[in-house]
Subunit: 248 residues, 2 copies
């Protein structure tokens, strides 16, 4: 089963639009991440792992955590924000997929030729997901993602995140990332990417709203610190999940 | 001693402008990387490690390799192409520096506020280097890096890599990356970044020329596969080093 089918099935079964970002740090991060995953599994539809865990343990060290997610019916995204030349991207993507990850995030900046082309081909052949980061959630994202750029393919000036959105559709991406801190941009991206899933990070701690993001057109909301750093992660996950249920 | 002093000293001692990219893959990659490092140490001035080694082994698994480089008088760059929100970037940068890396590469796309700001502050306080990737070496890099964008700070339209170059100078970067495949762009960036080091990847296998890049204004040339995949890495490293000596 491919990534998009996995996340869709989990979202339906758990009636949840929450992607749990396991942004846990410290020497016992891996154990805590696994515990958080098990405790909140029924309230989420997907797991996202980033550098917090990948760097200290390497992908080999995460095989157990990934297997656990799969046994709970949840796909796992490597939020690697890949942004290198083709040969390195290929090795990186292969390593993630080989370790059991179901999808990766990529930054569109390297472009297609000798950039992301090989990654899309590799992923397509294996049913893996490629999610493009087209508008980040932090304040500084406005500096470049929201700047006006000339899109040579269409011969028009437009904001970079909209050009990234159109390119994601053309490249065959399985989803795009747009920060929940910019609901108006989610609306614009929804118009462009049609029925492609939109993943929205930046809720709660960064100030974005779960309901606002989903109402604007986001498909899934990514929640990290609000759950992982909560005194009661189970209650918090249930509470956030319930917010998403009216959109199921 | 800070990163820039370390690389400058090694470049002078070895009369070399070669940064060795340890792009080695496979189950015995770590041993081969260490052997390549030891064999070629006298012909290089710095070592660059990327996802090829970081992902399978994690940063903890690379401490030995980093120590070896230091014992040979060579600084080590983590070519992580960091491109995330501030809190994740901070954890990532801290993890690299803590493992012994002397510099990291960052993609300017997340911008300053809640993006790269914290990383620059962290690095500055520890004498670590932050190198911005402003123009990649692959063909597809032209799609976005070479596109014309509106730079709101200066109120002008310019190519994205030139805006990245100006921003790197403003942010206090310790160096910039410009692909050797675009010597004309190296010339333009050299005008902008004044005496900031320019690191140029993409020679030999990707088609860029060592001498052309240095003549255009590059400070250091990054060489990976041309040495690592050579039948005789020592001879190849010596040969490439000698090409750079007329610029020492």
């Amino acid at each position: 089963m491919g990534f998009l089918d996995m996340i869709k099935r989990a979202a339906e079964q758990n009636r949840s639009r929450i992607v749990l970002a396991l942004d846990v740090k410290g020497p016992d991060a891996l154990e805590r991440a696994e515990r958080l995953l098990c405790e909140t599994a029924e309230y989420i539809c997907c797991v996202k792992i980033n550098k917090h865990l990948i760097l200290p343990w390497g992908v080999e060290g995460l095989r157990g955590l990934i297997k656990r997610a799969h046994s709970l019916g949840l796909p796992v995204i490597a939020d690697c924000k890949m942004c290198d030349i083709g040969s390195t991207n290929f090795v990186e993507a292969f390593t993630y997929f080989d370790a059991g990850f179901d999808a990766i995030t990529v930054v569109p900046l390297p472009g297609w030729a000798e950039g992301l082309e090989g990654v899309f081909h590799l992923a397509r052949g294996r049913g893996m997901g490629v999610i493009t980061v087209i508008l980040m959630s932090n304040r500084g994202a406005s500096e470049f993602f929201e700047a006006v750029i000339y899109d040579e393919e269409l011969g028009v000036f437009d904001k970079l995140y909209k050009v990234f959105a159109r390119r994601s559709l053309k490249w065959g991406a399985d989803g795009v990332v747009v920060g929940a801190t910019r609901p108006e941009a989610i609306r614009q991206v929804r118009e462009i990417v049609e029925d492609l899933p939109i993943f929205s990070p930046g809720v709660v701690v960064q100030g974005g709203g779960v309901v606002e993001a989903l109402r604007a057109g986001a498909s899934y909301v990514i929640v990290g610190r609000a759950i992982c750093e909560s005194d009661n992660p189970i209650d918090k996950a249930r509470e956030m999940c319930e917010l998403t249920r009216r959109f199921s």
